[in-house]
Structure formats: C-alpha cells, structure tokens
Assembly symmetry: C2
Homo-oligomer: 88 residues x 2
C-alpha cells in the first residue's frame, strides 16, 4: 500500500530559535506588533510504500530519527493517510 506522510519537525521548546526571533523582529518592523513566540520548523511531505499502517509509521519514525530530524534539538510529529491507487 502507498501512504502519504506529512511531517512537522520543530526545535525543542528549550532550544533557542534565532530564525524565529529574526522573523518576529521583521514582522514587528512591518507593523505586526501583536506577534510573539515565532518558531520556525520544517514541513516535509513524502509518499512511501508499506505493507500496512503500522509498518508505515515504523518506517517514518526511523527515517525521522536517522535523517529528517536531529533528536538532540528537534522533535517531530507526523500524520499518514493511505493513498488510493487511482490518486497516484
């Protein structure tokens, strides 16, 4: 079966986010003074082939730990959805 996965990788709350601070400062200069706590992460979409839901989740857990996220400073969340054969 084919699955579509959407993965969000974000810095751990305890880790400083200089890019987020820069974006917040830029937004405030543009007049968005009510904006705060900006955090920037990665958003990854991918498709994968797996025998079932559980196997797809296992694969995504492993590939996030190995490549997409740095577990020391980042955490990830993901959702999967089965793809209809016709939709591919």
């Amino acid at each position: 079966m084919y699955y579509k996965a959407t993965i969000r990788v974000t810095l751990r709350p305890s880790v400083l986010d200089p890019a987020g601070v820069a974006v917040r400062s830029g937004l405030q200069q543009l007049g968005y003074t009510g904006v705060s706590n900006v955090r920037i992460g990665k958003y990854i979409e991918l498709e994968l082939e797996a025998t079932d839901d559980a196997e797809a989740r296992r694969q995504i857990d492993r590939l996030c730990d190995q490549m997409l996220a740095n577990p020391v400073i980042e955490v990830y969340k993901f959702e999967i959805a089965a793809l209809e054969a016709a939709a591919r």
Copy 2:
C-alpha cells in the same frame, strides 16, 4: 484575544524542489527505497493578538503574503486556535 497560529508554507506543485530530491536520494541510500515525492516546506508557529478570529485570519493572510511566503512560488495553509489567558 490571543491566538496560536500554525502555518505550513510549501512550494507550488509545479515548482521543482531540489532539497526534496536530495532528501529522497539520501533516504534511498539509507535503504528507504519505497520513499518518493519528497517535498520540503516551512512550518511556522506564532502567537498573535487580535480582536477576533476573522481579524486573526486577516492578519495571518497578510503577513504570509508579505513575509513568510513568496506567493510566486509558494502557497501556505494555516490553522488558528484561541489561547486561554491561563495558557500564556
């Protein structure tokens, strides 16, 4: 009222994504041969102050168009949730 917004900025489907191609190639070298169509985007969380839901959505639409996304090559989606005063 305070709102938390989560924003996903992705390349338009017609735009090539060299970073996604590189990640796919890296994953395949790690043995994840069933992975395809990898697309990399940005995931942004922020808090903002607005009078109501509609005003919050208007502000986020504007700041995405002005700063967070490049509308020529990117699209964005977002969700907002009202923050309890106690949760801030």
